[in-house]
């Protein structure tokens, strides 16, 4: 039976990923901040066939991390799904707002995954899968801080993958494009948006097949390849 620790279990993508594992009868350990919402997600997954444990925690608080991982042990698949988009206007003007985004999207994940990595390394097996973003592939005016946090996470995951390779621990970096979730609820939707269910299928397939870096949907890899090719002196003039 697969054991999956889901960090940020009430996120739209995490819920869909957890449903796919629930259909396989997995044992899920769900962590989220909001008690009512976490209970709603846990009940749903139980009906769908999972055995479920939960913990309420603010993952921005590193003091909780060790305890959470100890409770979820033994670890097998660690899925890190929490994150915030941040208000770009606010993060442009208020340094504390920018810091808060980095704390949630980068510092918290680094703390959690550092601890998780030690445990998995000692077990000599398991898989870490984390949500970065296509926004981390190139900094843009409209979300410089969010992009920086996801770029930092992607770099960290890449290093972790390199380090843990010999221990038989796999690390999967997932880079979703635009996804129709509460995080983007305030933005106007266009045909580039995908559903959380689509992203979830790609996440689980990447774990099953032991992929390193996946873009979801896959065509974002081509888009970002083109975006990265643009020279900075051209890119800086664009408003993307």
């Amino acid at each position: 039976m697969t054991r999956v620790l889901v960090l940020g279990a009430t996120s739209a993508i995490a819920q869909q990923v957890a449903r796919l594992y629930a259909a396989r009868g997995a044992a899920l350990f769900l962590v989220a901040r909001n008690e009512e919402r976490l209970a709603a997600v846990a009940d749903d997954l139980r009906v769908r066939g999972a055995s479920v444990d939960t913990a309420i925690a603010d993952l921005d608080d590193p003091a909780r991390h060790e305890d959470l991982l100890a409770r979820a042990a033994p670890l097998e698949v660690v899925f890190l799904a929490h994150g915030v988009l941040g208000d770009a206007r606010e993060t442009e003007r208020i340094a504390e707002a920018a810091e808060a985004v980095l704390r949630t999207n980068l510092l918290g994940p680094v703390s959690l995954l550092t601890r998780a990595a030690q445990r998995l390394e000692a077990q000599r097996g398991g898989c870490i899968v984390a949500l970065s973003s296509v926004a981390g592939d190139r900094g843009r005016a409209s979300n410089a801080v969010y992009g920086a946090s996801k770029a930092g996470l992607a770099a960290f995951l890449s290093g972790l993958r390199n380090r843990l390779y010999r221990a038989g621990v796999r690390v999967v970096t997932v880079k979703p494009g635009l996804v129709d979730t509460p995080m983007t609820a305030h933005l106007a939707k266009n045909p580039l948006y995908s559903s959380p269910g689509r992203v979830a299928r790609d996440v689980v397939r990447a774990v099953d097949r032991g992929r390193d870096v996946v873009y979801t949907p896959w065509w974002w890899r081509l888009v970002l390849f083109a975006v990265r090719l643009l020279p900075e002196r051209v890119f800086k003039r664009l408003s993307l």
């Binding site: 009512e36 749903d44 009906v47 509460p182 939707k189 948006y193």
Partner: protein, 426 residues
């Protein structure tokens, strides 16, 4: 993401949309009125709120509890019939009432008090709803059941989403042996033949429905009847084709194409007539195989007319009128409703024959025909089905729904719909 439209794609409406992500969330504060929107499978304007806001419920898609011993399922209102069957059929439970598509939400099934091919036995969907929670614009969360807040319960079932937002519902399922149906197809060649077949079949089969082909030379059709199969089967799961990829031009559904399709469908039905074991999905949901099939009608969309009348003469009159009109009827379905009382104040099903006809939207020509059919129904003391309607007059609505005044007292003042404003216009 598509802008929200109803299944018939008529009438056009412009409205804001807000997704409800958690059943514990309060209603959003908006200017203007609210209307819950599930899967957008209502044909006309009862799922639209022109100038207002739609509360999208597709993310309220969580199960809450499933009592496998007693077949009682509690789930959020945005869960689809398809999701429920995928969960419960392998565990030996089926919904007692399913509509012609499984791509509708539980909230929509309640709001329209939908019926199936077994109305004469099981009644409407609402009869199998044990309880639900209704979130009102006051912030109140009313627990409703046949015994608790019974009036609000009866107003909300078939209440067209106007009494508030249903956040979750508890449903009573029925046991089945497996995913198979023992079905039988019988061709027929006249309305009289239909009624003879129907009287006999409703005694012996749980599910019955007829597909009809209106032709100048008279009516013909295929009568489908079936029961849940107690035998193990080995019919493979059909492949799932994708959705219809694009809008066809408006002339795609015209006299010759419909005649050709119907001739093929009838011939295929005759060829395959007799008994066989099939999976439940193609039996109950024949059109779900092609997602978004409404695109066949192009951007102008289609209008469906569904009525119930007791008088068989009225059925004949409508078929004659539709058959002799210049507007082609692209799809016809004929069933009978039984005596089982409907629980909702505005429930559509009542004893009689129910006729449903699809028409491409040809503008005035289609509207004139719909008015003529509506007049026949009103004359016969029947009713039209709001879930399918985009055109009926306030007078016809009032005549068909005698408990309208009772219902009106329960409408949430912050909720409204395009349909409601149309049929309540002074």
């Amino acid at each position: 993401m598509q802008p929200l439209e109803s299944w018939g794609r008529y009438p056009p409406a412009r409205q804001a949309a807000v997704s409800v992500h958690w059943r514990s969330d309060p209603l959003p504060r908006v200017h203007g009125t609210l209307l819950p929107f599930g899967q957008g499978r209502s044909y006309g304007d009862c799922c639209l709120n022109d100038g207002g806001t739609l509360l999208e419920t597709s993310r309220l898609d969580r199960f809450i509890e499933f009592d496998q011993g007693r077949g009682i399922l509690r789930c959020e209102a945005g869960v689809r019939i398809a999701d429920i069957l995928a969960l419960t059929v392998p565990r030996g439970w089926f919904l007692p009432v399913v509509p012609g598509t499984q791509l509708v939400s539980v909230g929509g099934a309640i709001a329209n008090d939908i019926h199936g091919k077994n109305h004469f036995r099981a009644g409407t969907f609402g009869r199998h709803v044990r309880a639900f929670e209704l979130l009102r614009s006051t912030g109140e969360r009313a627990a409703c059941s046949p015994v608790e807040n019974a009036e609000l319960f009866a107003a909300t079932i078939a209440g067209l989403g106007l009494t508030g937002l249903v956040t979750w519902a508890e449903l009573q399922l029925r046991p089945v042996q497996g995913p198979f149906i023992d079905s039988e197809t019988v061709p027929f060649r006249s309305l009289d033949e239909f009624f003879v077949l129907d009287a006999d079949s409703s005694q012996r089969f749980e599910y019955t429905v007829a597909w009809i082909d209106l032709r100048a030379r008279g009516l013909r059709g295929l009568y489908f009847r079936g029961d849940h199969s107690a035998r193990p089967g080995k019919v493979p799961r059909p492949r799932e084709p994708g959705p219809f990829p694009f809008d066809l031009p408006g002339f795609a559904v015209s006299g010759p194409t419909v005649a050709a399709f119907n001739a093929l469908y009838y011939a295929r039905g005759r060829l395959r007539s007799g008994r066989k074991q099939v999976r439940h999905a193609p039996f109950f949901f024949p059109f779900d195989g092609v997602g978004r099939w409404n695109r066949v009608y192009g951007k102008r969309g289609l209008l469906q007319f569904q009525c119930v009348v007791q008088d068989r003469g009225a059925v004949r009159a409508m078929l004659d009128r539709a058959g002799s009109s210049g507007v082609v009827s692209s799809l016809g379905v004929l069933k009978t409703f039984g005596e089982v009382p409907s629980p909702g104040m505005l429930s559509f099903p009542r004893p009689g024959a129910t006729l449903a006809l699809d028409f491409p939207n040809e503008g005035d020509e289609t509207f004139v025909l719909l008015e003529a059919l509506e007049a026949i129904v009103r004359e016969a003391g029947g009713a039209l089905y709001p879930a399918k309607d985009a055109r009926m007059s306030p007078a016809t609505f009032a005549a068909g729904y005698p408990r309208l005044a009772d219902f009106e007292r329960h409408v949430d003042p912050a909720f409204s719909s395009s349909f409601w404003r149309r049929v309540r216009a002074a």
